[in-house]
């Protein structure tokens, strides 16, 4: 396969960057939901489950 280094780098960024961002968002959500009362968590469904 030609250009393998470029392919690996491109796909690593393409999957890795959104993956890292997703972890950041999930962690921030967990932290904030621990500090906001459940009755004020409208639109956040886990409080209702």
């Amino acid at each position: 396969m030609s250009h393998l280094g470029y392919l690996i780098a491109g796909w690593a960024f393409g999957i890795g960057v959104p993956g890292i961002y997703a972890i950041f968002v999930l962690r921030r959500g967990r932290k904030l939901s621990a500090e906001v009362p459940v009755e004020r968590q409208r639109w956040i469904s886990s409080g209702e489950e």
Partner: protein, 265 residues
Amino acid sequence: MKIKFKEVKEGRFNATSSRSTRFLGFCLALGIPTLILFAFVFSPKDDTMEDAVRLLYIHVPVAIFSYVAFGITAIGSICYLWKQSRWWDTTAHASAEIGVIFSALTLITGSIWGRPTWNTWWEWGDVRLVTTLVMFLMFVGYLALRQVPAQPQIRAKRAAIVGIIGTINIPIVNRSVEWWENSTLHQQSSLTDGNLEDLTLFTWFLGTLILGIAYLWLMIHRFRVGWLASEHEALGYGAAIEERQAEAGIQTAIASEYREEGEIE
């Protein structure tokens, strides 16, 4: 004042997840390996680009969903100015943040693709590269503006105006290869000309579908985080007002005491 509600959340996998996000996450867990398999194994290499074409199965979908994300920011911004609803402001903010990530990825993956294909990482004379960079920087500015301390309503209004202005750039980026065809290395759209092989086209569609699901998954989580952040901020304001009122109450009591002492003397 810091209120902790950790006990309420104990035993939960994640605070912003729900049945819909878990379903989307499951689709992504299946879809991403399938896309990699099609991109690297099943799809054929291109006659001119050779294997570098496999980078386009991620580059083109992230570019499309950066437009979608900024488009949603514009809709959210317009609706905020119209309805003054926090829901729309939170939507616009969430989508802009994801759009900036996707826009940065468009530039990075495009640059990595450009090196083996055009023999350059970056070309300042290419109108699409430069307009995409301008779009990226405008929305970085949008996010920076949201960090400027201000009343939530004033901040949302300022951001909405910038969000709408920034979106004007989307059709310019998209149409730039046709409007300035002599000032770009990019080719015009080849998706609809019928020259692509079936597997190439299928892999591209699969990549677009997976990126669409990823955008939706990120959007739901990021919206919920934004909503929680605004509630958290409101709690902070409430606590600050209570503290001020308490301080004012103490000061009034001290002042009246002084007054009473003065009257006695």
